[in-house]
Symmetry: C2
Subunit: 408 residues, 2 copies
C-alpha cells in the first residue's frame, strides 16, 4: 500500500475576529510545547489541582466540582445533559438561536421530553416566559444559553435559579462565549450546571470544556447514578457501571479521576491542559473585572465605528454581548464575498450567520486576546475598504475616529 | 471573591516508559505552538484533509471514513459502540483485560445485550472461542482489543472478520496501543470499525482518537441513523436529529464536518490537530514496516535484559506486544515502591497493573518515540539499581550486555 506523506503545515497569519477560536497568547502556545509527562505523575496531579482552583475563580464559584471535560464546548453541553437526564425526563429549554436548538437535539438523544420556549433569534427571555412550561409538570432541568454565539444576545440569568428550584429543577447555563469576557457569576446566579469552552474569551485553543456543578447538582447526580438499569432486560456487566448514558462523559467517574482518589478513567489531554493552565493564569493576572471592562470597551469602540459606517447591530438593545457582535448585513451586499475579501486580502477572519441567520448577519468576535482596540481599528479600516466597492459608505475616517474615541 | 492564581507549570524531565503517553518528538511539540487559525479557514481544511490521508496510510486502509475524534482513545471506543448499537442489540465482546471489560461497560450504557467471551488476563482468543456466542442469536458487533494495554497481550485478528460477517455482525477492533508500533492492517483484516489513540505508538500527546470505518460499517451506520425514535413517546425537535444516542460522537455529523460539505458540528481542536499532523508525518517518514521492526527489536532487547535479571513476562508466549511489555513482579517485591524509586531517583515512568493485575505486573511501554535502545538500557540499569536492595539479583552487567546485543 502506498504511504501518503504530507508537507509540513505552516498556518497563515490571521487576526481571529470570528466566533472562535480567538487569537492565542504566545505564552499559551509556548506552554503547549512543553514536554509531555504522564497523566498520573505526581507533578501532573498538581497541575490538575491548579486548573481546578483557577476554574473556580473564573466561574466565580466555591463549588467543589469544577474541571475541564476532555472535549470541546459541545462535549461540555452533552455532559451537562447526559448526566442529569433519564429517558422520559422533562426538560425546558430556551431556544433563541443555534445553541438553544442544539440543546434540544442533545436532550432528545437521551430520550428526554423537550419543552421548547421560543423567542426570535437575537431577543432574550424574561423569567416569566418559562413559567407556563415549568408549570406543566415535573421538570428535571431548565436550560438556557447565557451568550448565544449565533445571535450576539446575552441572556440575563438573574431570577432563573429561584424559578427552576421552585419547580424542583436544576438551572443549566451555557457560558461558552461569555466565560472570561462577559460577567459570569455562577454562585451569584445560583446556577447548578455551568459549562464553557476554552477557545472564546479564555483564548486557549479549542479542545476542553470547563464545567462546574453546584452542591444541588451533585446531589442530583448521585441519585441519577444510583438509578437502576435504564433499559429493561439489559444485564449490567460484573463491573457494574452506573446508569448514566455515556461512559466518556460520566461525571461521577470524572469526579473520581480529578478528585483525591485519582481513579483512572481516561488519559487526560496533557498538552491542552498545559495550555489551559497558562491561559487561566493570564485571565487571573488581568483580573475578571478588568477583563470584562476591556471587552465592554472594545465592543463599544467597534459599534461606534460600525455605526459611523452605517452598520446596525442584530441583537436586542441592552442585551448585546461584548464578546460576540452580530452585525446586520446591509441590503444587497454579498456577505460571504465580504468575509472572503477580509480573509484573503486583509488576513482577518470574521464569522457568517448560522442557521436561520445565514446570510443576514456577520459575527465579529472580540474575545480574550483578540479584544484589543488596535484590532477593532484594523477591522473597521479593512471593512471600509472591502465594502466601499459594494455599497454607498460614509467617510471611513470618521468611523475610525469614532472607534478610537470610544475605545480609550 | 478572592482570585486564586497559580505558579507557572514547568514539567520535570521524564523518560516515559509507561502505558502512555509516550515521549513526544520536539517537532510535534513545536507544531502545537504554531499560531491558531479558524477551524473553517480554507488553510485549516487542507490540514484536515492531510490528516485524513495520512490516517488512511497508517491504518493501512482505503476506507473513505478515517478521521480523529475530538476526544481521547476512550472517546474513540465510545464512538465505535454508540453509533452502531440500539437498545437491545446483541454484542459479543472478548474480555481478557481492562479494555475488553471497558467495552462491556460502554455497550451497557447504550442498552446493548452484552455477551462476554472471557479468557484469563494475558491470554488471547482463538476465533473458535467466539463461535458459541455468535451462534446464540443475531449479533450487531463482534468486538476485540488488538493490543490489551492492561496485560501486554496481542490478539490475532486474522479470521475474525469472516466469522463476524458470516453472522451478520461487524468486526470492531481497538488498536489504541498498537497503531503505529505493531502491525495493524485494517483492510487486510477486513475489520469494519477500528479506533486508536494518539499518545501511544504515534507519540502525539493524548486528546484525539483516530477512527476508521469500512464501507460495510458505513452502510450499517446509515441504517442505524435512519432508525425511528429510540425512546417511545419522545418528540424529536424540529431540527430532527437522528437516533444515535450521542450528539458529540455522532459519526454521521462528523463525516459531514470532515467531508467536503464542511457542515459545522463542533470546533475542531486546532493545536492538537497540528500535533497529530506532524506526528503522522514522522510515522510515515520512517515507514510502517521500519517502525514495526524497531518496536520489535527494542522489545526483544528489553526482554533479553529483563530475562538476564531473572524477570519474567506476564502475557502468553507468542502473543506479546512489542509496544507494551508486561513484567511479572517478583515475589516479595513492593511493586509500587519500585515504580516510585524509578520515577523519583531516575526520572523514568513505568506503569503498574490495572484491575485484577494490580500489584502483579509492571507495564513497560516502548512506544513510538520512546522505543529506543538507549531507553531500554537506561531502564535496565535503573531497574537493576532499584531492585538490588529488594531481591537477589544476577550481575546486572550481563543484563545490559544482553539487551544491547539483542537491540542491535
Amino acid at each position: 500500500m502506498r504511504l501518503v506523506t504530507e508537507a509540513p503545515f505552516a498556518p497563515p497569519a490571521r487576526l481571529l475576529l470570528g466566533p472562535g477560536p480567538s487569537n492565542v497568547d504566545q505564552r499559551v502556545l509556548a506552554a503547549q510545547a512543553r514536554p509531555v509527562i504522564g497523566h498520573l505523575d505526581p507533578e501532573f496531579l498538581k497541575l490538575m489541582d491548579g486548573v481546578k482552583a483557577m476554574l473556580r475563580s473564573v466561574f466565580r464559584t466555591s463549588n467543589d466540582f469544577a474541571l475541564p471535560i476532555s472535549g470541546t464546548g459541545s462535549a461540555g453541553m452533552e455532559a451537562a445533559f447526559v448526566n442529569f437526564l433519564a429517558p422520559g425526563d422533562r426538560v425546558v429549554v430556551g431556544v433563541n438561536g443555534v445553541f438553544g436548538t442544539r440543546m434540544t437535539e442533545v436532550a432528545y438523544k437521551y430520550g428526554a421530553q423537550v419543552e421548547r420556549v421560543v423567542k426570535p433569534w437575537g431577543r432574550v427571555f424574561d423569567p416569566s416566559d418559562f413559567g407556563p412550561a415549568l408549570d406543566r409538570g415535573p421538570v428535571r432541568l431548565l436550560a438556557v444559553v447565557h451568550a448565544e454565539t449565533s445571535t450576539g444576545a446575552c441572556q440575563p440569568i438573574e431570577g432563573l435559579a429561584a424559578l427552576a428550584h421552585d419547580h424542583g429543577a436544576l438551572l443549566l447555563v451555557d457560558t461558552v462565549t461569555s466565560l472570561g469576557g462577559v460577567p459570569v457569576d455562577t454562585d451569584g446566579w445560583g446556577a447548578d450546571i455551568v459549562y464553557s469552552g476554552t477557545q472564546k474569551c479564555l483564548s486557549v485553543p479549542p479542545g476542553l470544556a470547563p464545567l462546574t456543578l453546584s452542591a444541588r447538582a451533585l446531589a442530583a447526580l448521585k441519585v441519577r447514578a444510583a438509578a437502576g438499569p435504564l433499559f429493561p432486560g439489559v444485564v449490567p456487566p460484573p463491573s457494574n457501571p452506573n446508569s448514566i448514558q455515556s461512559w466518556y462523559l460520566d461525571l461521577t467517574q470524572l469526579a473520581r479521576y480529578w478528585g483525591t482518589d485519582r481513579v483512572y478513567h481516561h488519559t487526560a489531554p496533557i498538552s491542552a491542559l498545559y495550555g489551559l493552565h497558562e491561559g487561566l493564569r493570564i485571565v487571573l493576572e488581568e483580573g475578571l473585572e478588568a477583563r470584562w471592562q476591556r471587552h465592554a470597551r472594545n465592543s463599544a469602540a467597534l459599534w461606534a465605528g460600525l455605526g459611523a459606517l452605517g452598520l446596525k447591530p442584530w441583537a436586542e438593545e441592552g442585551h448585546r454581548l461584548a464578546s460576540l457582535n452580530a452585525v446586520t448585513v446591509p441590503d444587497g451586499v454579498d456577505e460571504a464575498a465580504v468575509r472572503k475579501a477580509l480573509l484573503v486580502e486583509h488576513g482577518i477572519e470574521i464569522g457568517g450567520g448560522l442557521g436561520e441567520l445565514k446570510g443576514l448577519i456577520w459575527r465579529v468576535g472580540l474575545m480574550g486576546h483578540s479584544s484589543r482596540l488596535e484590532n477593532v481599528v484594523r477591522l473597521i479600516e479593512a471593512l471600509a475598504k472591502v465594502l466601499s466597492g459594494r455599497m454607498k459608505l460614509p467617510d471611513p475616517t470618521r468611523a475610525l475616529a469614532a472607534a478610537e474615541a470610544a475605545g480609550r
